[in-house]
Symmetry: C2
Subunit: 230 residues, 2 copies
């Protein structure tokens, strides 16, 4: 019986990937006279993956990778002024207001009355803390965990730290890879709420099949009635 709900944050409680996506469109436009969009996307993603072990997740690493990729793709022909524009794109992302997903502002407080809620997110400490504060949702969570990676080992550590029995735990999030699969593996439950865009890095081909503790729903409003049966 579920007593504790873990919530992912980006693209589960508020919009995130759509902000990256809009910035990436402006980035493609800026480089359009050098390369078609698909080449820009491919080389940027390769740069991000190469840098991930050094930068970790988050906007600042993305910004550094966009600058590096622009220099590489233009063979150094890009101007300093254009690089300044690329940095400004990233700074706008960091300053972007937090926009809650539909239903979140009502459902999170309602769920907090019946369940213990944990916020479990990955990324940059400073930016995640800023977004959590700006969301106004922090008072509804009994604990907030900002992790550098969300995998079996980090979930196990978080659940142990908060004295959570995995049988009583469900994780809710938009990423099969980071929110659902590692928790199912540990014996917990997982509710997948896809966002309309998934970052290529988080993409998983196949959702779990016929797993008793897995559900997929379209939006957060569908979550509460599912919980008693998980």
């Amino acid at each position: 019986m579920i007593k504790i709900i873990g919530f992912d944050a980006d693209d589960t409680l508020w919009h995130n990937e759509s902000i990256f996506d809009r910035v990436q469109q402006r980035y493609r436009d800026l480089l359009a006279r050098y390369h078609p969009a698909d080449v820009v996307d491919r080389v940027l993603f390769a740069t991000e993956m190469r840098n991930l072990p050094h930068y970790g997740y988050g906007v600042k690493g993305f910004m550094l990778s966009t600058v590096e990729t622009a220099i590489e793709l233009t063979k150094g022909a890009i101007s300093a002024q254009e690089i300044r524009e690329i940095i400004t794109l990233g700074q706008e992302m960091l300053a972007h207001p937090v926009e809650l997903l539909p239903g979140v502002a009502e459902l999170v407080p309602a769920l907090a009355r019946d369940y213990r809620l944990l916020l479990i997110t990955k990324g940059e400490l400073h930016h995640q803390e800023h977004k959590i504060a700006a969301s106004g949702l922090a008072p509804h969570f009994s604990a907030i965990e900002i992790l550098s990676e969300k995998d079996g080992a980090t979930y196990e550590r978080v659940l142990r730290r908060h004295g959570v029995a995995v049988g009583e735990f469900v994780m809710v999030g938009n990423s099969l890879r980071s929110d659902i699969l590692p928790v199912l593996e540990l014996g917990g439950a997982g509710v997948h709420i896809p966002y309309h865009i998934t970052w290529q890095h988080e993409h998983v081909e196949e959702p779990p099949r016929n797993h008793a503790r897995f559900r997929r729903v379209d939006n957060l409003a569908a979550l509460p009635p599912l919980l008693p049966a998980l």
Copy 2:
């Protein structure tokens, strides 16, 4: 009577500011044909402070500020190739091996036999975790806290989370501003071990005077004999 020791990490357990300093020297050299070193330093620091609310602490924010400052200081005349070099400088910082300060490798395990040790550091989650893992010191700490800021409120939260009575707590670190003053304010003890370079942002003019729970020592070896009297 002290039972729990909190350790800062950068410039307390391992070298950090000296790595920034060497990179900043190479950065000054790169911009030397545009501006003298003191101008470069002043404008870079102003950029870092302007960006701090958006970037937080850490190498990635520093990297972004060095790129932005270089464009500003050269009025856009800097080449993409030179910007690539600036990014490489930062990437070298992130990949730099962790070099423990003298005595740390012996004294931390020795202290862990008699005291409960907490590692309390601020900065970027990913990079700090990487350095903690590379240091080999993690097994000696009962808990590791990576914070976005070290002030009275965050120390209070950490001490509460770990059930630490402030009267039994001493914080050891190189920054009066981040390691010592907020802990003394809460009623804890503080041992300041200055590093030979202090980042301007962490600089405090006046150390506490005649404070019964404050000490300043030259190196970590002087810490253990002080503890019974704190």
